[in-house]
């Protein structure tokens, strides 16, 4: 079984963001980047599949990024992925075009499972898994919190607004990971060193026969800051008085 794990490189969310001079994008110059936390959960789940039900599984991490994005693919390799593919692309790219590039690689490599994060914590779009499944014509199971294999597919527990839903999908399929699927492992030092020897192949969109056709034109960005000043009270009674003055409770 071949498992594909798309991995996105995102700014570490615990940093203060700044915008570039013309406020069209974030200023990435001073930022550190990490593997999107939801994608790390997907890598972890692929490893657990290999460690339990499918010891023969080959795990391939794939990223769309500038060549220096290789560092974050190394995170996936250090965790235990077998090899990595990097689709070279400079600048931002919208979910539809990400899915097109992934679909092209997937048609070439023919994995039977795509496991990926439900969203990337930079653009928070929550679209690529769904768009990819649509473009491939594969079934999808989004927001997975538990998975198991069956004779011809997978049974997935999904986190929905109504509660936990259980669905069955025939493979090949796209599964997107929610927070509670697992707790990703940290890579050990020996495995980080070993990851440096694992193969990473670079591909260009042209080699895949894909020319990005942008669907989103970004006009600008604005930093959102708190405009509130907190008035401290010392008792529950005073808090109620303030909330009544503000006319939000009776």
């Amino acid at each position: 079984m071949k498992i594909f794990v798309p991995c996105k490189r995102v700014p570490d969310p615990d940093q203060k963001l700044r915008l570039n001079a013309d406020a069209t994008d974030i200023d990435a110059s001073a930022l550190t980047f990490i593997l999107n936390p939801f994608d790390a959960i997907a890598v972890e789940e692929a490893l657990r599949i290999r460690e339990t039900t499918h010891p023969e599984a080959e795990i391939i991490a794939v990223s769309i990024s500038p060549p220096e994005g290789e560092a974050d693919l190394r995170t996936a390799l250090a965790m235990g992925a077998d090899r990595a593919l990097l689709i070279e692309h400079e600048g931002s790219i919208d979910p539809w075009n990400v899915a097109r590039l992934l679909a092209a690689v997937i048609q070439k490599e023919q994995p039977s499972l795509v496991l990926m994060g439900k969203q990337a914590v930079d653009d928070d779009a929550n679209q690529v898994g769904q768009s990819l499944a649509a473009q491939l014509g594969w079934p999808q199971a989004t927001f997975a919190s538990q998975i198991e294999f069956t004779d011809n597919g997978m049974r997935i527990h999904r986190e929905t607004d109504l509660g936990i839903e259980i669905i069955h999908v025939v493979l090949p399929a796209v599964v997107t990971a929610d927070l509670r699927l697992n707790e990703p492992r940290y890579a050990s030092l020996p495995s980080i060193l070993k990851a440096k020897k694992k193969p990473t192949e670079h591909i260009t969109p042209t080699e895949l026969g894909i020319k990005p056709e942008p669907r989103i034109r970004l006009l600008g960005m604005e930093l959102v800051n708190s405009k509130r000043t907190c008035e401290k009270v010392t008792t529950a009674t005073d808090l109620l008085i303030k909330l009544r003055e503000a006319e939000v409770i009776e």
Binding site: P11, P13, I26, P95, W96, A99, K118, Q119, V121, D124, N126, Q127, Q130, S131, L132, A133, A134, W138, P139, Q140, T142, F143, R155, E159, T160, D161, L162, G163, I164, E165, I166, I167, V169, V170, L179, R180, P214, R215, I216, R217, L218, L219, M221, E222, L223, V224, S226, R228, C230, K232, V233, T234, A236, T237, L239, K242, L243, A246, V248, I249
Partner: protein
């Protein structure tokens, strides 16, 4: 005038809270609006939706459960048949799952979780949060149809009309629908309290609460006293103390009630992303330096196990 298709979510019995926000957004852009409902035995729900716009019903045995590949296939078919230029739904796990897939079939011009818009020189500009709400981005969608999910707290449902709009069925050939996904079960956790995205007041609990019983007693008790929704931070959902349907934040629900009461919530950026646009925010936390206070209008430094019962008791005694 953009030909607009609005998708409304329902639970098999009634329209879901917040599903009217998509109508509110669509009305600001177009007068040519049609609602599309999918499911089985939709008569009652269709009557409800017909208070807002003409309704198309895709009513079929094969659509009984929400299954993304089938539903998206049908949405794409109807959108093409209707020459829809704009497709709108209210953001929720339902829409994220289905509309995202439909967008993949319809050319991919999609923006999710939209919180504002303006038309400049005939161009529709959309505003949406990114980076856990630390940034608001303004963008234009290229291509047609434009597919948009709106944040339920950003747009209000319009008033229902007295004379209902017409309801019309869509012809369905079930043999053409995808069949690789099977719905098995849903463990419905919808309680008696209002939904966090709908309530005027949200009482939310965080890490300070140590068990489901404590949460129910303190957060639930205060919520009931105020007729409010109960919400929770991610920490409690991770710990299995609250169901995920209560989670407010970047990966949960985005809310903007009149009052957000944060109890024992430290205020991680991921949580702030889900509630910082509330009109009034009050926080109780033991740590005077908790980031939540930077985003609150009123703050009380104290132990929620002592302060919350005081609030409940005092409200009760009035």
């Amino acid at each position: 005038m953009m030909k607009t298709l609005v998708l409304m979510e329902h639970d098999g019995t009634t329209l879901r809270p917040g599903s009217g926000s998509a109508i509110g957004f669509a009305r600001e852009l177009s007068e040519d609006i049609t609602v599309l409902l999918l499911g089985k035995s939709l008569e009652v729900i269709a009557t409800e939706a017909a208070q807002y716009a003409p309704v198309l019903t895709a009513d079929h045995e094969a659509l009984t459960a929400t299954v993304a590949d089938r539903w998206a296939h049908l949405i794409a078919e109807v959108a093409q048949d209707q020459n829809a230029e704009l497709i709108v739904a209210t953001s929720a796990t339902w829409a994220k799952d289905i509309v995202g897939r439909a967008a993949g079939l319809l050319g991919g011009a999609m923006a999710s979780e939209v919180i504002g818009h303006e038309i400049v020189n005939g161009e529709l500009r959309l505003c949406r949060p990114m980076f856990a709400g630390a940034i608001n981005a303004t963008l234009v969608l290229e291509g047609s149809p434009k597919i948009i999910t709106v944040c339920p707290s950003a747009y209000e449902a319009p008033e229902p009309t007295e004379t209902p709009f017409p309801i019309e069925p869509v012809a369905i050939d079930a043999s053409t629908l995808p069949s690789d996904t099977r719905f098995e079960s849903l463990d419905c956790k919808i309680g008696a309290r209002p939904d966090v995205t709908e309530a005027r007041i949200v009482v939310s609990g965080g890490r300070a609460f140590k068990s489901s019983e404590d949460f129910e007693q303190h957060v639930g008790g205060l919520a009931d006293q105020l007729g409010a929704a109960a919400g929770s931070s991610r920490a409690l959902v991770d710990a299995g103390i609250t169901p995920n349907s209560l989670q407010v934040g970047q990966t949960g629900k985005i809310v903007a009630p009149e009052l957000y009461l944060a109890l024992g919530i430290s205020g991680a950026v991921q949580h702030l992303a889900g509630m910082k646009n509330s009109r009034v925010i009050a926080a109780i936390n033991q740590d005077p330096d908790a980031p939540i206070f930077e985003f609150a209008d009123y703050g009380l430094v104290g132990d929620v196990y002592e302060e919350v019962p005081r609030l409940t008791q005092e409200l009760n005694s009035r």
